[in-house]
Symmetry: C2
Subunit: 336 residues, 2 copies
DNA sequence: TTGTAAGCGTTATCAT
DNA sequence: ATGATAACGCTTACAA
């Protein structure tokens, strides 16, 4: 048994391959017993339909492409879980590609997906979203940006995201409410709109409280666990030491937490820390992390649902759903 | 610009589609300027080769299927990262499917991958690995099991795994060395060979120390964060309370850690806890988790490399690489 | 109800 | 160096 095609089955059954095709696709135009015989044969011969051949004629692959920065990030992992569950429920498969935060790889990934003729593409934390929407959107393949947005508002710009400005403001205002006057911010990687927006929220909260913005208080992070020690060093090196810090995401915050513990900086007494995401483990570090919760799973679900709609899967009009914005929520724990 | 095929380019250039194909594939049998003209046109017309059509004739897709339990598990996420990096480096794409620990879905996932004609399949924590190896292996598609093994040793059984028995023994012997006499074990989900093997290691260490095995000391876990409270309850309900516990994985251990903290059970004083995996966040919980480190990234890398070899990518003989077994390593932190 | 034939977008084998 | 033509495995008119 190497590989069986409908022609092989046709030969074995002594009928034409079109009848086999019809039988396998449950067409009403086939004699009931012929259908049964064909199906039994298909089973016995280990037949598996060739998706490539099928999509060559149908023009659809029942596959969506998912571009992430890396799966080894808990936030991304849960988002992908949300996408996967929804996709599976509707008979779609996922091709996964990682950009590793490099625009070049992101572009290459989307090109690969285009070549594989995926029916839709979901890109998380894109740095060049508008480009994809131009290349694919105009070719009829919906592109959904997840937690990023084009600078220029395009006609075919679909996105699902959390309100990052609001989240950043929420976090900062909470720290201000606690009485902190000197609040630092650890940004994410440059070029990401979510990081920029969270920074904007931070700045807006500061401005709202009538606090002068000190550029030194904003330090660059990596969005990863390992940046902690360096971030801590930067913060401690400031002329006037901040009493609180709002981090781009939970991984950054947890890395900082760890570095603080090793350096004997007590959290929250010496330094209050707020994260962003509420990844599953945020509640389990010590001290448990105060953070802005993103509905990660739902973000994935919504993005995939939007893709389904755009591929014509429900009766909903496409124009209803161009830009879904969800709100984050402050979760107070022990790190503040 | 909807979709451009080589025929469209041929028409625009006034040549045959076979010449276009040759030009695009950099065949030496094409006039240099024709080649240049074709390529410019392809660029301008936004041409993207149809992977389905190509693989229909070539018989290969340059795609591997990856079946995981769920991506929303840090161990799995890092493994997939390892697979992805290696795959990308060799021009392969990944189709991702989740089994959610249900044998039925695992089988459906593999069937989908078979239909998509992936060149190879990697299945993590399989519950029915032998089945896939029979269905796909005999059809010429290599199947690599990652951290699971068939009960019966088959001819085409490829696997990459950590030595779970050894790891389980290591963890338990370490606790014994600390003086613990009553050590519990929280198992993973039933039907997984890795969980069974870790249990075997635990039992073997106990036996080696001349300690009678008390079946009540082995409780069932879920492998997830959320099982903590119930596991703790089970442990506290035991007639003679254990002073230490070895958990199937870090997520189980961290869930337990959390539950212990909430219940006022001091770790490690009242209860010492050892995990398994060494997920990135294991060092950042409190107390930091003692665990058996698996080379997660390398596991993924090795599995993908093995797939490459089996697909004929290097000069290595296939027989050299049927079963890679890596050793885990004890990492002592604060939870013991 | 079934069979024949065309076509999806490629690559590959022939000729020319 | 280039062009016809067949083939990959399937779906789908169109015939019978």
């Amino acid at each position: 048994m190497v590989k069986t095609s409908i022609k092989d089955i046709a030969r074995a059954a002594g009928i034409s391959h079109s009848t086999v095709s019809r039988a396998l696709n449950d067409s009403p135009l086939v004699n009931a017993e012929t259908k049964a015989r064909v199906r039994r044969l298909a089973q016995e011969m280990g037949y598996s339909p060739d998706a490539a051949a099928r999509s060559l004629v149908s023009g659809r692959t029942r596959t969506v492409g998912v571009v992430v920065t890396t799966v080894a990030d808990p936030f991304v992992a849960v988002v992908v879980e949300g996408i996967e569950r929804t996709a599976y429920a509707h008979g779609y498969s996922l091709i996964l590609a990682a950009s590793h935060n490099e625009p070049q790889r992101e572009i290459a990934a989307v090109e690969m997906l285009r070549s594989k003729r995926v029916d839709s593409v979901i890109v998380t934390s894109s740095r060049v979203g508008a480009l994809h929407q131009e290349r694919l959107g105009s070719a009829g393949v919906p592109v959904i940006l997840l937690n990023s947005h084009s600078q220029q508002q395009m006609p075919n710009a679909y996105s699902v995201r959390v309100d990052d400005v609001h989240g950043g403001r929420l976090a900062t205002e909470y720290l201000l409410g606690l009485g902190h006057q000197r609040i630092a911010h650890v940004a994410g990687l440059e070029g990401h709109s979510d990081s920029n927006d969270r920074l904007d929220g931070y700045l807006s909260a500061l401005a709202g409280a009538g606090i002068d913005y000190d550029p030194d208080c904003v330090v660059n992070g990596t969005g990863r666990l390992d940046g902690g020690p360096e971030v801590l060093r930067s913060l401690l090196a400031l002329r006037e030491r901040p009493t609180a810090v709002f981090c781009y995401n939970d991984m950054t915050a947890i890395g900082l937490l760890s570095a603080a513990r090793n350096a004997g900086v007590a959290v929250p007494r010496d330094l209050a820390i707020v994260g962003f995401d509420d990844i599953p483990l945020a509640a389990h570090v010590a001290p448990a992390l105060t953070t802005i919760a993103q509905p990660m799973f739902e973000l994935g679900e919504r993005a995939m649902s939007m893709a389904l709609v755009l591929m014509g899967h429900q009766g909903i009009a496409p124009c209803d759903v161009t830009d879904v914005i969800l709100q984050g929520q402050l979760i107070v724990r022990e790190s503040t």
